[in-house]
């Protein structure tokens, strides 16, 4: 039973750590499938987290914070869209720029507004997302095996976590079962064909970029309103890049994105839990290796040693109507 308890704890923190990754990776899924590469996930998440922290504190409302996060993140997405769709600039350069602008300006503005040394004021209970207990969680706890799983693993997360996991089938449905999704994917593979069909490539890509902004904003709000009680300097700490890695690892498909994020979340949870405990068979693994593992796995995958990750064909290429 001890091992079972351990498993539950690990699984629980895996879910917690994967949630922002899933939201951010799905955000990336939308733009990248539309042919706009985005390495600015990190910046948009951080900007969203900051906006959420500020507004939730001022308005004392988690929902207001979430809304602010989405607005800021969408605005940043539109900057990226303007640079890479309208101005046909280099999408990677634009993403890098956004990451820096956000990293710097959140600290400067946060310090100017709150003067708390790189953080927004700690949020009270009411200004954060509360843990939701699913019905009958306590009553069913007594049921062997399934009871604790239901009570501790499935129940007892914040609303945004459930939203993140619901977004996985929702994204799949949007991308593969709606007209919008078909066009979005087509714009990322062969924009010329979409244009010939009389659909605006530019507008399609802008809509994809906006979808990305919304999801990144939610991911940011999760960080500052659910996982923590407020924004802290650089709190995304590379999660945007891990999400990007997960997106590639999942070969730009929604359901595999979830599993990739769960895997990377698990590695993170495992690294935190077993920092100095020797493992059976392997011995003591340096914690640094565990931290680097998601990146190493992604590199190996990209190099084609575990299947082949083929990006959307028109990804990274600005669309020029006439040649």
């Amino acid at each position: 039973m001890d091992y079972f308890q351990l498993f539950l704890e690990l699984a629980q923190s895996t879910v917690r750590l994967s949630t922002p990754l899933i939201l951010a990776a799905l955000a990336g899924l939308f733009t990248e499938r539309a042919g706009v590469f985005d390495i600015g996930l990190e910046g948009k998440m951080l900007g969203g987290a900051f906006a959420a922290g500020c507004v939730a504190f001022v308005a004392q409302s988690a929902m207001a914070g979430l809304l602010a996060a989405v607005v800021v993140s969408v605005l940043l997405s539109l900057v990226h869209g303007f640079a890479s769709i309208t101005q046909r600039g280099n999408q990677i350069v634009s993403g890098v720029a956004i990451n820096f602008i956000v990293a710097g300006s959140t600290v400067i503005l946060g310090e100017a507004w709150f003067r708390q040394g790189g953080r927004t004021p700690a949020l009270a209970e009411g200004a954060r997302f509360q843990v939701i207990q699913l019905p009958f969680a306590e009553e069913l706890r007594g049921v062997p095996l399934l009871g604790p799983i239901y009570a501790d693993l499935i129940s007892g997360h914040q609303a945004l976590t459930y939203l993140a996991f619901l977004m996985v089938p929702a994204s799949w449905w949007i991308l593969y079962r709606t007209r919008f999704g078909l066009r979005l994917r087509a714009v990322g593979e062969n924009p010329g064909a979409v244009d010939t069909a009389g659909i605006s490539v530019i507008w399609m890509r802008y809509r994809a970029v906006i979808c990305c902004g919304i999801l990144c904003g939610i991911a940011g709000a999760y960080l500052s309103l659910a996982a923590n009680a407020g924004w802290t300097k650089g709190m995304t700490a590379g999660k945007g890049y891990i999400a990007l890695a997960a997106l590639i690892f999942a070969k730009w498909k929604p359901v595999p994105v979830m599993f990739a994020c769960l895997l990377f979340g698990f590695l993170d949870a495992f690294a935190i839990r077993y920092q100095s405990t020797p493992l059976p068979l392997i011995g003591k693994v340096p914690v640094q290796l565990m931290q680097a593992l998601p990146y190493i796995l992604t590199v190996i995958l990209l190099a084609g040693f575990i299947g082949k990750a083929i990006p959307p064909r028109a990804g990274g290429v600005p669309y020029v109507k006439e040649r």
């Binding site: 100017a112 890049y241 640094q288 290796l289 990006p311």
Partner: protein, 377 residues
């Protein structure tokens, strides 16, 4: 891709347009200063004063510029071959091992002018090695260099954390750094160079690495515009299919370019490790690899542009410290914003003002026959 823009005179292409982009970036940064409730003009005054006010300040400015010349060149060399090396940060970090090993090995019984070449070799070897795999993966396995180099930055951070924790840290020491180098591992300051201009370098760590940076800039110019390899790199950057058709071996060029780029980024490690702290510390790169992206974009990937761009960022770093001191609400994170804005306006939005400028320039010079071409833009 065909450029839909009219051909512009050199001073517009390499002078006016970058200048306009830069001015816009600074104007937006000024808005942030206003938003914080401070005066942008006062901030600008403190910045210029902090960067040039005294010989010592100039020394610091040039010390930072040295670092950025290397990382800027690294990004630029890759740009010429159509590769985007975001991994300068990681390459410079890992190259620190090369520098540290050379110093730890030789510093007790060799003078600096013996240790320095060995350290240069070490830095370039380790930097190139860290860039080799992303290059090789791109060339042979088709994985995207941008993603791989980002991943390698994180892997480098973990690797260096491990190295400093378990391998390079002296026994019993708590802080994550190597031991302090003896005289052999300490580069001389460039007092004589500053005293020619009647300035005193003071405590600024302005050292001989600056001369190496200038030599590297010249070397890059020779490489890109005066050698066969450079020609092949540029051909590939302009048109990979043309390069292939001309019989240029794509894979070979990608790997070589990345290794040169990595070596240049790696040499950056000499400046802080041997020139300032005389030991390798955790996270000594401090984002210089990313500054290189802004420097290369602003300098239009030409050494003659990269040196002034690097000095400008030196001004930002040194002057930014002064601003942070005089105006506490504007911390050094302001530099990060400006860096991002420069990357945005000089990089991603570089064509935003071009149609307007082209029209203005042509209207002044009155060359009507290119008007048609302009309309296409």
């Amino acid at each position: 891709m065909s450029t839909p823009y009219a051909k512009l005179p050199g001073w517009v292409e390499y002078g006016l347009i970058p200048l306009v982009n830069l001015v816009v970036a600074f104007a937006v940064a000024g808005l942030v200063v206003l938003l914080v409730g401070e005066s942008p003009l006062e901030a600008a005054y403190h910045m210029v004063n902090g960067a040039f006010g005294r010989g010592e300040y100039i020394g610091f400015t040039l010390y930072y510029a040295t670092t950025f010349i290397f990382t800027g060149l690294a990004v630029a060399v890759a740009f010429h071959a159509g590769l985007f090396n975001i991994g300068g940060e990681g390459q410079a970090y890992v190259a620190g091992i090369g520098v540290a090993l050379a110093c730890l090995w030789l510093d007790r019984f060799m003078p600096w002018y013996v240790v320095f070449p060995v350290a240069i070799l070490g830095a370039s070897l380790f930097g190139a090695a860290w860039a080799f795999l992303p290059g090789w993966f791109q060339a042979k396995r088709g994985s995207h260099i941008v993603i791989t180099t980002i991943m390698f930055n994180f892997i480098a951070a973990s690797l260096m954390n491990y190295m400093l924790n378990r391998v390079l840290k002296p026994l019993g020491s708590m802080s994550l750094e190597t031991r302090t180098f003896e005289a052999g591992g300490q580069l001389p300051r460039l007092d004589w160079l500053m005293s020619i201009f009647g300035l005193s370098v003071g405590t600024a760590p302005f050292n001989v690495t600056f001369l190496l940076a200038l030599a590297a800039s010249f070397g890059v110019w020779v490489l890109i515009w005066r050698t066969k390899l450079g020609y092949e790199m540029r051909t590939m950057g302009h048109s990979p299919s043309a390069a292939r058709y001309a019989g240029i071996k794509e894979a070979r060029i990608i790997v070589i370019t990345m290794m040169i780029s990595g070596a240049l980024a790696g040499m950056m490690a000499l400046n802080p490790i041997m020139g300032e702290t005389y030991r390798m510390q955790l996270d000594f790169v401090q984002g210089a690899g990313f500054v290189g992206i802004a420097v290369a974009l602003m300098g239009r990937s030409h050494p003659a542009g990269i040196i002034p761009a690097a000095i400008l960022f030196g001004v930002l770093y040194q002057g930014g410290a002064e601003i942070a001191f005089e105006m506490p609400s504007i911390s050094r994170d302001m530099i990060v914003i400006i860096q991002g804005l420069v990357i945005l306006f000089a990089g991603a939005l570089e064509h935003m003002f071009r149609p307007a400028i082209t029209r203005a320039v042509l209207a002044f010079s009155g060359r009507g026959r290119t008007q048609a071409a302009v309309k296409g833009a």
